[in-house]
């Protein structure tokens, strides 16, 4: 009471006191005012596919909403959310797989997925709507494709060019970057994606009251445009250089040799009139790529994890792990190998499958 009495003549100080208290507790007040729903109690409807009725007519209200969405999207560059991007990517990947035969080799595809999904953790977009997926294509052509939703397809021809897991990681990191930075959607023949979609939707007669089937036409046309861009035209040189630089950073962060990409590029087929498809046709000249890579710096962001030393017991090829020399001595394992050796052995085992 005495204290309060002391401040009776100082309302400003009391005002500050209450302001500070309110400020300090404002996050919790906000939380209390708008608590997050408990998913168990308030189920949010998932986007389960509705039964498609191709001939069902859209209501005028729906048509207006769609036209409004197209109008809004046309005014600014189209931003697909991860889920929309995923559906585009699935369709583009399916188109590519219609042109290239997949390589049905589960151990190799598993190896590629573990490596690729690990590298993706160090990309600028580590998590996509349904993650990064990798598959080998049964083709001798030196090529790789990155579909917008995270489906990455690499030919056996390109795999055969790699001489180490570091180089293979460089290839995958380059393609991961095309996905992470949305190069596929951003470079559809220099047009905005909305132009293609709008045109397709309008030509499908949506403006006069469309049907679900009309969306399919619009969807198919847009997919054909994106797939053509990825398969035939490739990305702009600026995107390729960006993917090279970022790939170098990713593999360094994941503990691989950042020089591996330049080494691999030096062995890629040279761009000339003979190569009308594949990497040579869709990528910048290799010396230019190497020169630009040499000028970029690689920050030291390597994966930090203990233990970093790995032990191998003979016979039986059993691996053990230890973090320090003292631990090695304590558990009396007399041989140790660094992770790079294990990676080399793993790559050699996988290489026979290429």
């Amino acid at each position: 009471m005495r204290a309060l009495g002391m401040y009776r003549g100082k309302p400003v100080l009391l005002f500050w006191l209450s302001l500070c208290l309110a400020f300090a507790f404002s996050p919790w007040l906000a939380w209390a005012a708008d608590p997050l729903p408990d998913p168990a109690q308030e189920p949010v409807p998932r986007q389960t596919p509705a039964p498609a009725d191709d001939q069902a007519a859209l209501t005028p209200e729906q048509v207006e909403i769609i036209k409004s969405a197209i109008r809004r999207a046309s005014e600014a560059k189209l931003e697909l959310n991860p889920e929309e991007e995923y559906y585009v990517g699935r369709a583009v990947a399916a188109q590519i797989l219609a042109s290239y035969k997949p390589y049905d080799c589960p151990p190799l595809n598993a190896y590629l997925n573990k490596l690729g999904q690990g590298l993706a953790l160090f990309s600028s977009r580590p998590e996509l709507y349904n993650g990064y997926r990798f598959i080998v294509l049964d083709s001798e052509e030196v090529n790789a494709f990155a579909s917008p939703g995270g489906h990455i397809l690499v030919t056996r021809g390109l795999l055969k060019l790699t001489r180490s897991e570091d180089e293979l990681a460089a290839v995958l990191a380059h393609e991961i970057t095309h996905v992470a930075l949305r190069h596929g959607l951003a470079s559809v023949e220099g047009l905005r994606l909305t132009d293609i979609i709008s045109e397709a939707v309008i030509s499908a007669g949506l403006a006069s009251g469309g049907k679900v089937a009309d969306f399919t036409t619009a969807f198919g046309n847009a997919i054909a445009g994106i797939a053509k861009q990825i398969i035939v035209s490739g990305y702009s040189q600026a995107y390729e250089f960006e993917a090279d630089g970022e790939a170098r950073r990713i593999i360094a962060a994941a503990g691989y040799d950042p020089q591996a990409l330049a080494r691999l590029i030096s062995r890629l087929p040279e761009r000339d009139s003979e190569h009308t498809s594949g990497f040579a046709a869709t990528h910048p000249e290799r010396q230019t790529r190497i020169d630009i890579l040499a000028r970029s710096e690689v920050p030291d962001q390597r994966i930090r994890r203990k233990p970093r030393i790995f032990l191998r017991e003979d016979p039986g090829y059993v691996f053990g792990v230890a973090g320090t020399q003292q631990e090695i001595e304590e558990i009396r394992l007399d041989k140790w190998v660094p992770v790079t050796v294990l990676r080399d052995e793993r790559f050699s085992a996988a290489r026979v499958l290429f």
């Binding site: 996050p27 986007q47 498609a52 009725d53 959310n81 990947a93 797989l97 349904n130 198919g220 847009a222």
Partner: protein, 153 residues
């Protein structure tokens, strides 16, 4: 006593400023599955896995990692920033359509892409999604991936 109260007021003032700078915002998961980790590292233990549209309280972002609080928890955890979107970016609502297309589907179809459009597209264009579906079934746990990268195993 006067000094003590002045000290208390000043402490609260400083605390107020410090806490006030990080007023949290409501966000939601925008990917199918996202790992919540104990600290901001890919090798950090996974404490929970959130699903599409699960809510979180977002406390800040550093180096691509979002500092989050889960409903019913007072702890701070970490997620990839790319897995989150502001909570109010829900697709627009227009009610269930007479054609059987749901509201989010309509908005998506407005841009041309949805699961409904995909079903119809697959039927009419005879595009085979079986290998794409197979690709998406190749799942590896976070531990498998990290062991592969960091341990060479």
């Amino acid at each position: 006593m006067k000094k003590l109260i002045t000290f208390f007021v000043m402490t609260m003032f400083v605390t107020g400023i410090a806490v006030g700078e990080t007023i949290p915002s409501a966000m939601m998961v925008q990917v199918r599955q996202s790992a919540v980790r104990e600290y901001a590292s890919v090798v950090a233990p996974v404490v929970s896995t959130l699903s599409y549209r699960d809510p979180v309280l977002f406390w800040g972002n550093k180096d691509g990692w979002a500092k989050v609080q889960l409903p019913g928890s007072s702890c701070i955890y970490y997620m990839f920033m790319s897995a989150l979107a502001p909570r109010d970016t829900q697709p627009g609502s227009v009610g269930q359509a007479a054609s059987g297309v749901t509201s989010p589907e309509i908005v998506l179809a407005g841009k041309g892409f949805s699961s409904t459009a995909e079903d119809s597209y697959a039927r009419t264009s005879h595009i085979d999604y079986s290998w794409v579906n197979l690709m998406e079934s190749w799942d590896f746990s976070s531990d498998e991936i990290i062991n592969f990268l960091a341990c060479g195993l």
